[in-house]
């Protein structure tokens, strides 16, 4: 029953009509392409910072006499450009687009979308400069300087207006899973962000509470914003490309509510053994384990992504990494395991597995599906697309494995008081070099995507291949 193929309906010819031909999505083309294009620019920028930060770990002197590029600042620059620039720009753009498609009518509020996109990028650019000159807040995933927070919030609201209008104006009452995830992500980010802004910047809480709030925000940003943005794309693209309803779809809503209700409680994940009352991290251990249920549901629902097709390959890789990351999280949250992975690059390996392997790969897949339908033109090069997948998959695998291996070595050395920090760094050296190589590969792959996008959506090749065929 669950995987029965669906008869092609009478309207089947219109689904993929070029956006310019009057089908859904046409009015938002410019702003959407601008948002996605800028997201790709930030992706490349963050790739450059990632490369610098990675080199600095094995060659500490690299660029260290440059005050704006200390390792601490480069790490924040990389993280901010990646999370707010790439995931946070491409994700909402695609979420808005998906909500528009599923609403059955053209996007409304697209001029707000354009205004929001412009200010979001301006705020982010200003924020990155601010971090480089030392104005960052020094909180994980919340590094943007205080003075750009209002701009980010306001411009995000402007971007989300189009999504909200598409959601409220939808023709059908019952919502599809992609709509839950997209609407939840669009709606929850401003609350999370402003709550963190009030408690960490405007009226900072005292002492270690700052760390508790920061943990709550970081985990919330992951489970309530980044992960849902990516899942919205995957839930939308997989049935459309396979032509089948998702298997075990009746469990999908359980998976969604599990993520949303349990995810926010995992905030104490990195405070194990730390100076906070024990229950905060105990709660995180428990809820991280409970999230496994969500990952199982996602794996069941999206398993048809394993089918053929270049776009689905990105999604399949993404779902695999996302689910694997969830299980690894659950295991390493346990105190007995966390003891040896805490404070090591193993944490970073997990983060890369989730953010790069999971969320980014899902967004890549959605992007490859969406761009021809937004721009009304097929991708200009199939080789660049294949090359991007090969480089991204290799780079992510290498990065995660090398950081994980370095982290295990680091964890062993940290636990042994007779090993000095110099010796520890020497033991990690080889793996950190591999990680730098992986960052270079990823950067190259992302450049291929950016070039392909540039040729497809901006340079308008003379052949002007429509996608109506």
């Amino acid at each position: 029953m669950t995987t029965a193929p669906i008869q092609a309906g009478p309207t089947s010819g219109e689904w993929d009509a070029p956006a310019g031909a009057g089908a859904a999505g046409a009015p938002g083309r410019g702003p959407l392409l601008f948002l996605i294009g800028s997201a790709l620019v930030w992706l490349v920028v963050s790739g450059v910072f990632a490369l610098i930060a990675s080199i600095q770990l094995h060659t500490p002197g690299f660029l260290s006499d440059c005050p704006i590029l200390t390792h601490g600042r480069v790490r924040v620059l990389q993280e901010t450009a990646f999370v707010y620039g790439w995931l946070g720009t491409a994700g909402p753009a695609l979420a808005v687009w998906i909500l528009g498609r599923l609403s059955g009518s053209p996007l409304r509020g697209t001029s707000w979308l354009g205004v929001g996109a412009a200010f979001w990028n301006a705020g982010l650019a200003l924020g990155l400069v601010g971090i480089a000159i030392g104005d960052g807040t020094g909180t994980a995933l919340f590094g943007l300087p205080a003075y750009v927070h209002p701009v980010m919030l306001a411009s995000y609201a402007a971007i989300a207006i189009a999504g909200v209008l598409a959601w409220t104006g939808r023709r059908r009452g019952p919502m599809f899973a992609a709509q839950w995830y997209a609407a939840a992500a669009l709606f929850l980010f401003p609350w999370l962000f402003s709550a963190a802004d009030i408690m960490l910047v405007l009226a900072p809480v005292r002492g270690v509470l700052q760390a508790v709030v920061a943990g709550w925000f970081a985990q919330g940003l992951w489970t309530l914003w980044m992960a849902p943005l990516a899942l919205a794309g995957a839930y939308y693209v997989v049935p459309r490309l396979t032509g089948k309803t998702l298997p075990n779809y009746d469990a999908a809503s359980l998976g969604f509510w599990c993520l949303v209700f349990v995810g926010g409680w995992t905030g104490g994940r990195h405070l194990i053994g730390g100076p906070v009352p024990a229950w905060i991290s105990t709660l995180a251990v428990v809820t991280t384990a409970m999230l496994v249920f969500h990952y199982v549901v996602v794996a069941l629902n999206l398993r048809p992504a394993l089918g053929a097709g270049s776009v689905l390959r990105f999604i399949a890789f993404g779902v695999g990494s996302y689910v694997l990351g969830g299980f690894v999280d659950a295991v390493t949250a346990a105190r007995s395991v966390a003891v040896s992975t805490q404070f090591t690059t193993f944490d970073q390996a997990q983060q890369q597995l989730a953010l790069y392997g999971g969320v980014s790969m899902l967004l890549y897949g959605t992007l490859y599906f969406a761009i021809p339908r937004i721009a009304g033109r097929a991708w200009s090069s199939a080789d660049l697309l294949r090359g991007h997948f090969a480089l991204a998959a290799t780079g992510i695998a290498l990065l995660v494995v090398s950081l994980g291996a370095a982290g295990l070595s680091q964890g062993r050395d940290l636990a042994d008081p007779s090993v000095s920090f110099a010796a520890m760094a020497t033991h990690m050296q080889v793996w950190l070099l591999v990680a730098t190589g992986a960052q270079a590969i990823l950067l190259l792959g992302n450049l291929l995507l950016a070039v392909n996008f540039l040729e497809t959506a901006v340079l308008k090749p003379g052949s002007g291949e429509g996608v109506a065929s």
């Binding site: 390792h71 002492g207 700052q210 309530l224």
Partner: protein, 213 residues
Amino acid sequence: MKNGFVFFVGIFAALGLSWAGIVLGSNSQVGGLTGYYDDSDGQSYPLRPSGEAAAGLLVYRDLGCASCHTQQVRRPGFGSDQARAWGERQSVARDYIYQTAVQLGDFRYGPDLANLATRKPTAPDRESLMRLLYTGQGAMPAYSFLFETRKISGQASDLALKLPAGLEPRKGRQVVPTARAERLVAYLLSLGTAYDYPEARPAPHAAKEGADK
């Protein structure tokens, strides 16, 4: 899910509940922590940092020192924190009540700094910290932009660094820390949580286990 209103109430409740549980919950417990007044000493702990040290915390934060150094000592059984002489007891919430921007950190590429100034047996002094910042050591890069190389006019400055051979500036010149370096070092030298709060003492059964090992 057919009802959009219920859907929104649901996701908002999810966020609100986790906020109430984790943030409000812990705020009600440790948000109002005050210093611990010791009758026999006639003062309360932790001590407030000096103004210069408080300013140094901001230098520590904006340079991103926390990306390689933590400031939290865990109890025995959690790594080698205490065996490495980073502290004689685990860090507790009360240690941080006077820090305007808490820098717990989540990555240890260098040693923990929670008790840098009260480390036993060898706590670093101003001079050695300045030299470390200027020259770097091992995986720690040099932060030479926190120093100025100036011409000696008349007498050499009292603040000038005494550098080992090979790293000295040219003759007639001296390396002097900038105000930021002074603040940063003042902050580092204020890091120390020597007081034994009741909640920081190991639980009796844990102490026994430790003795057995």
